[in-house]
Amino acid sequence: MNASVASKIVSMQRAIAEHVPSGSMVVLGAQLEQMIPFAAGHEIIRQGRRDLTLVGPISDILFDQMIGAGCVSRVMAAWIGNASAGMGYCFRRAVEKRIPRAIETVDHTNLTIALALHAGAMGVPFMPTYTTLGSDLLKRNGNLREFSSPVNEDRLVAVRALRPDVAIVHVQRADAAGNAHVWGSLGVAIDGARASRKVILVAEEIVAPEVIASDPNRTLIPGFLVAAVVHEPGGAHPAPVQGYYGRDHAFFHEYHDQTRELDGFERWIKHWVTDVSSRGAYLKRLGEGRSESLRVRNHAFSAPVDFGF
């Protein structure tokens, strides 16, 4: 092991303060409904960031909360709402009534957001695809351009590359240098991390480098691309983390019911975000019983693999 590799472990507060200034383009929720970095998003809200561009396929209700808190000027996403309950009311208020502020929506599909990040990760200006041909998304999203294939007669769509400022990715375990193991739904996490100029990892567990090196196929990206590692157990709640805790379905439905009106959202964000100082305080507010009920009931360990030679 290289003992000279400096630890990148910092508090959530410091990671956001140093790496997510106002005006940033931020990838969040790259693993769709799994491992959404709610703790990081809430810290961004507490630190009062403004004019962010959010990038992600869906991000469930995290995008809605950050939009409602006034942190966001633009969203580039495939779907913005509440995956199991329906609409995101803050998103609707912002688009329809400019509350708390006007936002620009750049409508993507899951495949085009994946390709935009893949192009960024590949270092090329665009990736070609057939999706969106004939749709109004193609007409309204300036990052999607129709072109003729240079090698045959096909018409294609060029999806412009995205190079976000920072990707925030929740992972199961990481070492201090930012080498991380992730399992479960990967979504666009690998390309999202590689396309971004910086990566913040939020880890359920910090482990020895030997643990990561024992199974390099499971490593998200090489640690040298990572700017900060935050140890934040429970940091994805109410989203699930495979092998650690389940999805708190009721929490999503309570959010849906309680944020239908603006004053309801204001009460919600005060209770769960601005009135708590950290994820630890949030989890205390959530209660041990509720966290306990989400813990893994039946472990299902994979068979070990042999890297010997």
Binding site: Q34, P57, G86, R92, N110, L111, Y130, R155
Partner: protein, 244 residues
């Protein structure tokens, strides 16, 4: 509705499973007539067994336990774009006579309402061999012309998809509603192929936002058989998704 959706899956097929009711339909098909079907989920998951418990989202941990494959989004979307996926399932806020879908801008009492957007719907509608749409049947949902094409069906009729450059082997196959099943004629327009038990043709026509054509050999959708009903109850015992 769920049973009718499940019957659109043939044994051995690759199925792109969308959010909500399609997750139940896939589970029913797997437990009944299509045990050899394989499900692809845009989160990167591929599985050839039904998930062991009710899914609220495709990212629920139970959908990953004993999956065949967990990769990234492009690894499943690439199979869709290659044309390997036989059937893709979608919900929608609005569908029109040519099977175009809108999940971006709706209207309620004359006001424009911003909806969540495409997700993977446009990709599935653009690229899967057959697309099946599930939605409630009323004049607000089945409209003559959608205000916004989020996910392309047959556009303005036969030949439109080819003109747009969409893959030749792709396109809408069925619209399954709470009242019946619509299919598509050679001209690309939907027609009523069957009505669900207890529903009349007049009910369907008066709840459709255009003059819907009716098949000469209009059928009654078969009732869910005991095995299908048992599968639906096993998957969704609390009727979270199947409030029928």
């Amino acid at each position: 509705m769920v049973a009718a959706a499940a019957r659109e899956i043939h044994d051995g097929e690759l199925v792109f499973v969308g959010m909500r009711l399609p997750m139940i339909a896939f589970g029913v098909a797997k437990r009944t007539h299509a045990p050899g079907a394989t499900g692809l989920f845009e989160s990167g998951v591929i599985r050839d067994t039904p998930a062991p418990e009710l899914l609220y989202t495709m990212g629920d941990p139970s959908n990953l336990l004993n999956a065949t494959y967990c990769g990234d989004m492009l690894s499943v979307m690439s199979l869709l774009q290659q044309g390997r996926v036989n059937v893709g399932f979608l919900g929608a806020a609005e569908v029109d006579r040519f099977g175009n879908l809108n999940t971006t801008w709706g209207s309620r009492n004359g006001q424009q309402v911003r909806l969540p957007g495409s997700g993977g719907a446009c990709d599935i509608a653009s690229l899967s061999q057959r697309t099946v749409v599930l939605l409630e049947h009323n004049c607000q949902r089945l409209v003559s012309r959608v205000g916004h094409i989020t996910s392309p069906g047959n556009g303005t009729g036969n030949g439109w998809r080819r003109e747009q450059g969409l893959p030749l082997r792709s396109g809408p196959s069925a619209i399954i509603t709470t009242m019946g099943v619509l299919r598509f004629g050679d001209d690309g327009e939907a027609y009523l192929a069957s009505v669900h038990p207890g529903v009349t043709v007049e009910d369907v026509l008066s709840n459709t936002g255009w003059t819907l054509r009716v098949a000469d050999d209009l059928a009654t959708t078969p009732e869910p058989d005991p095995a299908e009903l048992a599968a639906i109850r096993e998957i969704d015992p609390q009727h979270f998704w199947t409030k029928l």
